[in-house]
């Protein structure tokens, strides 16, 4: 009987196609927007999460996110190091500046100067080269998307030269730095190198990063640092949470959620409406089945299977479409952070499935409870 139900659905090509397209559109819209939103959330904290070996972050109290951080005053490093509960601490200098590639291309870059002794502050993995290669002054490593922006269309090879202000820098390798929220290339170098590029300001660190002593109460240590220095101190998760709160307050995520809701409502409304029309048109045929002794449960199963068929095909098409578009977007260096996380793909399909199945179940129940004697009257 399930096969009969699916044949009935497949034969009504216009409605079947309309329903599949509605689900596909809805899934595509929701997944696309969810993927961008999830990627933005990931990028909001990407540079914080990349520094896996330093759980403690100290910064100016005005700082709200990684991208909008004011440098800390000189002398702060020692005051942080002297606090009880701090195992170690090192400076991290972040500068946004302009770089010029050897072909003359100008590009805004984010330079991260890490402590040259410990090299703490680098991404955990390098795709090409070694962390030691950026220890000498005048050298740096670039992220994959950054390389594509600085040298568009050119094959990857090292060493290469770029200029920042009037300083010449040698690119010696490629990090696995996560795509940043700004989309700019991320250059990692030693703090000595970064200081040479920091001519606009005389501060030597943007963040103090470090670790807690084993067993220390993290909240208490952070409070003690704040009390001693007047700076904000928090662990990595806390800094990430603060950055997300800041970006949330800017209103952009709200716009994404509105589009996602529109996708969900439109998709389910069109699917439910078309499915309702389909079921109404086939009520007599289902009633004939009831008269011939098909049980109510089986009638419900037949209608549910029709709904699930439409849903699964639509979800597959929608997810495929989103995967293609996000893959295409990710190949653009500036949009390299846009990905479709599997959780987003599954979550959006599950949300749409839940609402659609609820709507289909209501219709299936209505059909099962109909008066089968209508077959004698129609």
């Amino acid at each position: 009987m399930i096969r009969i139900a699916l044949t009935m659905l497949r034969t009504d090509r216009a409605k079947c196609t309309a329903m599949i397209l509605a689900v596909t559109f809805s899934v595509f819209l929701m997944q696309n927007q969810c993927a961008i939103l999830a990627s933005l959330y990931r990028m909001m904290t990407a540079q914080i999460d990349d520094v896996t070996d330093a759980p403690l972050w100290v910064m100016e109290p005005d700082t709200r996110c990684f991208e909008q951080a004011k440098p800390v005053k000189d002398g702060t490093l020692e005051r942080v190091r002297s606090r009880s509960g701090v195992a170690w601490a090192v400076p991290l200098l972040k500068i946004d500046t302009m770089a010029r590639s050897d072909s003359g291309l100008l590009c805004t870059v984010t330079v991260m100067g890490v402590d040259e002794a410990s090299m703490v502050g680098l991404p955990s993995r390098f795709r090409i080269g070694q962390p030691e290669a950026i220890r000498p002054a005048g050298t740096c490593a670039v992220d994959p998307g950054g390389y594509a922006q600085l040298f568009p269309g050119e094959p990857v090879h090292f060493p290469r030269r770029i200029r920042i202000l009037d300083e010449s820098l040698v690119l010696t390798g490629m990090t696995e730095a996560s795509a940043p929220f700004t989309g700019f290339p991320i250059l990692h170098c030693s703090r000595v190198t970064a200081l040479r590029l920091n001519k606009a300001e005389n501060r030597t660190a943007t963040f103090i990063i470090g670790d807690f002593t084993p067993g220390a109460n993290r909240a208490a240590v952070c409070e003690s640092i704040t009390a001693a220095t007047g700076l904000s101190a928090m662990d990595r998760a806390g800094f990430g949470e603060m950055a997300r709160r800041f970006y949330n307050s800017q209103g952009v995520p709200r716009l994404f959620w509105i589009t996602i809701a529109i996708g969900l409502l439109t998709g389910t409304a069109i699917t439910a409406q078309t499915f309702s029309m389909f079921v109404r048109e086939h009520t007599t045929q289902l009633a004939v089945c009831r008269v011939m002794g098909v049980t109510r449960a089986r009638i419900i199963a037949m209608v549910l299977c029709q709904g699930l068929f439409v849903l699964s095909i639509g979800c597959a098409f929608g997810t495929g479409l989103t995967a293609i578009t996000t893959h295409a977007a990710a190949s653009e260096p500036f949009l390299r952070g846009i990905v479709l996380p599997p959780q987003v793909a599954a979550g959006t399909c599950a949300a749409l499935a839940a609402i659609t199945i609820a709507a289909v179940t209501i219709m299936a129940r209505r059909v099962a409870l109909m008066d089968p004697a209508i077959v004698f009257r129609s």
């Binding site: 009935m8 045929q285 004939v288 011939m292 002794g293 089986r298 004698f376 129609s378």
Partner: protein, 235 residues
């Protein structure tokens, strides 16, 4: 002695309440014997369709009792009633009600598939009966490609494929011309009449009344009289 195929005792059925209450069946006493074709005749709106819906267990009577082959429908659990309908009753509808998405053979196989028979076996059985009814060359065609008479023959095959003990036909010739209707009735009489089987035909087409062993005339919710058109001929 075998119990009658259908026995109705004082069947009342009304619809609605208060001022809108309509009394459709007003105390029907009716018996259809096995091995016979029994007609229910009467003008439109006299309650024929309501009565066969009650007999088929699709409608509950407001009062009275119906028994099929000696089994009281009212005392039967709902699942048993569905099972009885699936196994022991075949239906032929005025508008055929074939499923347009299915082929002729698949349409005929529906009662067997509803009884959970394997698809291949069901289609084999359906093909066999279609062959008997002269539609062996139309097995894989959609019903829409058939003429009205052929569609009614498919509906007849669907009603008979699971060898039910009772075949209920609702105006089986109403949508057919005289000649085609006559042929369909001949097929019905030849295929369905069997000592253990009964055929109940609702019709007001008096051109086919001579196929009946008994004709129960209905008017305004009651059976006014019963004719036995073949009784004098056989006597």
């Amino acid at each position: 002695m075998n119990p009658p195929a259908v026995h109705c005792h004082q069947i009342h059925r009304h619809f609605g309440n208060g001022d809108t209450r309509v009394h459709v069946l007003r105390g029907i006493d009716f018996t259809a014997a096995s091995g016979q074709i029994t007609f229910l005749a009467g003008p439109s709106g006299c309650g024929k369709t309501t009565l066969i819906s009650v007999i088929a267990g699709l409608l509950q009577p407001s009062s009275g009792s119906v028994s099929l082959f000696g089994r009281d429908l009212a005392s039967m659990p709902p699942d048993d009633a569905v099972r009885l309908r699936r196994k022991d009753i075949g239906f032929v509808f005025q508008q055929y009600h074939l499923i347009p998405a299915l082929s002729v053979a698949e349409n005929v196989a529906v009662p067997l598939l509803a009884a959970s028979m394997k698809r291949r076996d069901a289609l084999e059985q359906a093909s066999a009966i279609l062959d008997k009814l002269g539609l062996g060359d139309r097995l894989h065609q959609p019903p829409a490609r058939l003429s009205g008479g052929q569609q009614q023959r498919v509906a007849l095959a669907r009603a008979l494929v699971h060898q039910p003990r009772l075949v209920i036909c609702d105006e089986p010739t109403a949508a057919l011309d005289h000649e085609t209707g006559h042929r369909v009735m001949e097929l019905l009489a030849a295929s369905a009449v069997h000592p253990d089987r009964a055929v109940l035909v609702v019709s007001h087409d008096n051109r086919i009344f001579h196929f009946a062993d008994a004709i129960a005339h209905m008017d305004d919710g009651i059976i006014t009289h019963i004719d036995h058109p073949n009784a004098t001929t056989t006597a």
